[in-house]
């Protein structure tokens, strides 16, 4: 009965969180859903979109809806790693003596908003690598654990390429999802205008505590995955590896590098969250296929030919989803 209750709690929490976000964020269902999946799966999210689409607002609202510490880092070219991680400074202690004390940076929060992450230099961006993967930082020769849960919600602007630094592949791979934030439609835009130009304020409630969130994250990991579904995820990842026997034809043509195993992990974990939110106890092929673009698009490295022809990783993933059979063993009647 505990399991059923946990599943029910998950669905309730998900619905509540969705409702709270919905108070502020108009539309952008896929973005919100992707963000929540990442949250419950314990992964970091990279939101990419032109300015003014509500990326920062989404993360800030999420921070408000969760009973978690929240910090925001505005990435600029002159931002230094110490500005993020923290640094040792000389502090006067009682007795007139002075000593170095570590001053924690904004990374020491549950939910970190890395706004316009690509504006920082690679040196600064790299400061996040250890934090994102191992949930710890090394500063002043000391290893410091970050608080759990720890999420990085980064945003980046695909335009304004001048003065920006593309994220390195290692950095990108640490993001669970890369979510593209698109323009709102007419109805959504109208609603946005109505909400933001009348002076009305929206109060976002905290609907999920830290402990509850950690429990729900544990439930997610218990969802069973059938072997053939797991096999499908594996075959999808393998199909992105150019130059191998398992590679899809389009991967061989347009990719330099395929997905890392983290891509497969993302597929399975995201599939589990999706199954739970859908009221199921098992992961389906559809779950894997639905999250594949979010989980894989930032893990595929295009070759020159693809860039010259304007082929995107989304094109390639769509084609791979078509090429890879869901269940290679099933004989169609």
């Amino acid at each position: 009965m505990e399991t059923e209750q946990a599943v029910q709690n998950f669905r309730t929490a998900h619905a509540n969180l969705r409702a709270e976000l919905g108070k502020v964020i108009v539309g952008q269902d896929a973005v919100v859903e992707g963000t929540l999946i990442s949250l419950f799966a314990g992964g970091h999210v990279l939101l990419e979109g032109v300015p003014g689409l509500g990326k920062t607002l989404l993360v800030r609202t999420l921070g408000e809806a969760l009973d978690l510490s929240f910090s925001r880092i505005q990435f600029t070219p002159d931002l230094m790693p110490a500005d993020i991680l923290g640094t040792n400074i000389v502090m006067e202690i009682p007795g007139g003596r002075r000593e170095f004390q570590f001053q924690r940076g904004p990374i020491f929060a549950h939910l970190v908003l890395a706004d316009e992450i690509n504006r920082a230099t690679p040196k600064t961006q790299s400061a996040l690598l250890e934090a994102m993967q191992e949930h710890q930082v090394t500063a002043g020769g000391e290893l410091r654990k970050l608080v759990e849960p720890f999420f990085v919600m980064a945003t980046q602007n695909p335009i304004d390429q001048e003065g920006t630094y593309p994220l390195p592949e290692a950095q990108l791979d640490r993001f669970f999802f890369k979510i593209l934030v698109g323009y709102p439609n007419a109805a959504e835009l109208t609603e946005v205008l109505s909400r933001t130009t009348t002076g009305a304020s929206v109060q976002v409630s905290q609907v999920l505590s830290r402990e509850a969130l950690l429990d729900l994250m544990a439930v997610v990991r218990q969802v069973p995955v059938a072997s053939h579904v797991k096999d499908y995820a594996v075959r999808l990842v393998l199909a992105t590896h150019p130059g191998t026997e398992t590679a899809a034809p389009i991967a061989g043509q347009y990719l330099r590098f395929g997905s890392s195993p983290r891509g497969g992990q993302s597929l399975i974990l995201a599939g589990k969250v999706r199954a739970l939110t859908d009221g199921r106890f098992n992961v389906s092929f559809d779950d894997i296929a639905a999250v594949a673009p979010l989980a894989l698009r930032h893990r595929l490295i295009l070759n020159f030919e693809a860039e010259a022809e304007g082929i995107t990783t989304d094109h390639i993933i769509a084609q791979i989803l078509k090429d890879v059979p869901r269940d290679a063993q099933v004989v169609v009647a």
Binding site: E2, T3, E4, V7, Q222, V223, P224, V225, A226, S227, H228, V229, A275, D278, R280, F281, N282, V283, S284, F285, D286, D287, R326, D327, Q329, V330, V331, V332, A333
Partner: protein, 647 residues
């Protein structure tokens, strides 16, 4: 809880098992239709090939039957493999959009470590499995292949109404094969009958005839070409000819063959037999003194009186009294005439009595009975006359019998003499008479090989009083004659076989069946064939050494008598028709030398059709070609010429 999960798993498994069974049937049916499609396609292919190419007849049967095994194979292949539950579960998940509930439930249901999550998954799957209906899940529908299969079958059926294409060469070949088989069958049957009727006396003859029979059997069994058949026929015919020539080398057969050629078919009857027949006829007829011609006259007169009697019966008036009287007198005169000829005709007297009693019907009846009796008597008289003529022809003694070529009679005479001598009951006069008859027969016996020697020794032994020795010599002479007759019989048998072989050659050469094909030309001892009248007879000289000294004086050939009108003139042959010897040169590869000869037009209507003459010529040409009688360089030209004749 565990029990509940198990029952829920059973629900899932049962639903899947039903779906799997249905799916298996569906596959089997689809396999059946696919098999039908393949079979129908093969049928169409084979039937089409049969219509286009000269394939054997059985291919058509195969085309019609190939569908069935394909159908069964398709059914078996389709339904052979039993779908596994896992496969079925995944298939149903995909088909019913169950989000992998059933397949995951199957996997976790059998995994005890799945725990509570496994039970939850199974329960969820069982809820969905309850609503599964295999009939809706796997409906039986006709696949696309069914439509194609039916189309192909319809095309196959339609093809049955389309006549097949066969080249002229192929048809000719088939006809040749048929002809060769027919000829072989007839040849074998003829030879078999001949062997049954009269087993040959000489082993070589028997061997030759068996070779002919074997050839006929081979023709019926093997598929030979025309040229091969002709070659085989020519080879065996050569063997027969050689055999005949070997037989012909025996001088003793000369007289026998001459007699055989001159015979009219009744010479084989012995004198005793003829005498018996004559006596029987005489007994039946009585003692008539009139000849058949007189009887004919009597019959005609009687017929006239019969006509008069008919007229009398029709009139039935007073004025006929004088006519009745006249008829009565005429009948009396005829009765007397018949009595004078020795004929007993009591019906005539009855007719006169009936006439007197004015009973014209009875008169007519009596006259008719008289006529019938008279006709019978006349026929018997004619037969008697013929038998008497034959009797006259038979030799009276041994010398005449040998001279006339009557070996059977001579053999009987010799045996009779040998018995008389053996019995040793002869008086000196009788012995002298016997010696005289034997001595006279020595000269005519010169034509019968060793017979003359035996007769000579018999005569000497009789002179010396050695009756048993003479008896033995005469018996030996009789045996020698018998041996000669057997040789003669063998030769005739070989000759008949040779004629059959020639007929077979002609049939094969012209492509006609046995019954249509008649051997042209003159048949020794028989009527000429229906071919062109005066064909040279290649086999006439089976005992060729006689040809140079052939004596045909005295041979009666009524079938060769001149008939009808001719404009060919009398006397010597026209100068234009005299044979001219033309020297030719072989020029292989060049043109055939040709000469122009003057000819005399022969007026009148030919009794032989052109086709028949051309066929006969073609047969001879084929025979000549197969026996290598034509130089190789000219064989092609000769063949082409005679082939053109046929067209």
């Amino acid at each position: 809880m565990l029990a509940q999960a198990m029952s829920e798993l059973q629900i899932v498994e049962t639903a899947l098992a039903r779906a799997a069974q249905r799916r298996r049937w569906s596959r089997a049916l689809r396999g059946l239709w696919h098999g039908l499609l393949v079979g129908a396609f093969l049928s169409l292919l084979v039937a089409g090939a049969y219509h286009l190419f000269p394939l054997p007849r059985w291919t058509l049967l195969a085309a019609s039957l190939v569908t069935l095994p394909c159908l069964l194979v398709g059914l078996l292949v389709g339904g052979w493999r039993k779908p596994r539950l896992n496969d079925t579960a995944r298939w149903v998940d995909g088909r019913q959009h169950l989000k992998e509930r059933l397949s995951t439930a199957l996997e976790l249901g059998s995994d005890p470590s799945a725990g509570r999550w496994g039970q939850l998954v199974v329960s969820d799957a069982a809820e969905h499995a309850k609503g599964l209906d295999p009939r809706k899940l796997v409906p039986f529908r006709l696949p696309k292949s069914a439509r194609w299969a039916l189309l192909f079958l319809a095309l196959c059926a339609g093809l049955g109404f389309v006549p097949e294409y066969r080249s002229k060469a192929f048809l000719q070949k088939q006809a040749d094969k048929q002809t060769i088989k027919d000829v072989g069958r007839q040849l074998a049957e003829l030879t078999r009958r001949s062997l049954d009727q009269r087993p040959p006396a000489l082993p070589p003859t028997e061997k030759s005839l068996q070779a002919v029979e074997a050839l006929g059997s081979e023709f019926t069994k093997k598929a030979l070409t025309r040229s091969e058949a002709l070659k085989d026929l020519a080879s065996v015919a050569d063997q027969l000819k050689d055999q005949l020539k070997e037989l012909g080398k025996d001088p003793g057969l000369k007289k026998l063959e001459q007699a055989a050629r001159a015979s009219t078919g009744s010479d084989s009857q012995t004198a005793a037999g003829l005498q018996k027949q004559i006596e029987a006829l005489q007994k039946q007829i009585g003692t008539p003194t009139g000849n058949p011609e007189a009887m004919d006259k009597l019959q005609k007169d009687l017929q006239k009186l019969q006509e008069a009697a008919k007229g009398l019966a029709d009139k039935n008036s007073a004025g006929t009294e004088a006519e009745r009287q006249k008829l009565s007198e005429a009948l009396s005169a005829l009765s007397k005439q018949a009595q004078q000829m020795g004929l007993q005709m009591p019906q005539l007297d009855d007719a006169i009595s009936a006439l007197a009693a004015n009973q014209p019907e009875l008169v007519l009846k009596d006259i008719q009975a008289s006529l019938t009796d008279l006709e019978k008597t006349r026929d018997m008289a004619k037969s008697l006359a013929q038998l008497q003529q034959q009797m006259e022809k038979l030799g009276k003694d041994l010398a005449e019998q040998l001279k006339n070529g009557q070996p059977e009679a001579a053999q009987m005479t010799l045996q009779k003499m040998a018995q008389q001598l053996k019995a040793a009951k002869l008086s000196p006069d009788q012995l002298q008479k016997l010696l005289q008859e034997v001595s006279q027969a020595v000269d005519p016996a010169g034509n019968y090989g060793k017979v003359a020697d035996y007769l000579k020794s018999a005569a000497q032994q009789m002179k010396g009083g050695d009756q048993p020795g003479a008896s033995q010599s005469l018996a030996d002479a009789a045996k020698e004659l018998e041996k000669l007759m057997q040789q003669m019989g063998d030769a005739q048998q070989l000759q008949a076989e040779l004629e059959a072989m020639n007929r077979a050659s002609m049939c094969v050469g012209t492509g006609q069946c046995w019954s249509q094909c008649k051997n042209p030309g003159f048949k020794p001892g028989g009527r000429p064939g229906t071919g062109v009248g005066t064909w040279a007879d290649e086999n006439a000289g089976w005992n060729g050494q006689f040809n140079d000294h052939w004596d045909n004086t005295g041979i009666v050939r009524p079938d060769q008598d001149p008939r009808g009108l001719t404009d060919r003139g009398q006397g010597d042959l026209s100068d234009a028709l005299k044979p001219t010897k033309v020297k030719g040169q072989f020029s292989p590869g060049g043109q055939m030398p040709s000469i122009t000869l003057k000819g005399v037009s022969i007026k009148g209507q030919s009794k032989v059709s052109y086709e028949e003459a051309a066929a006969a010529a073609q047969s001879d040409a084929q025979s000549a070609l197969s026996q290598e009688k034509v130089p190789r360089a000219y064989q092609g030209a000769v063949k082409d010429y005679f082939d053109d004749l046929k067209k």
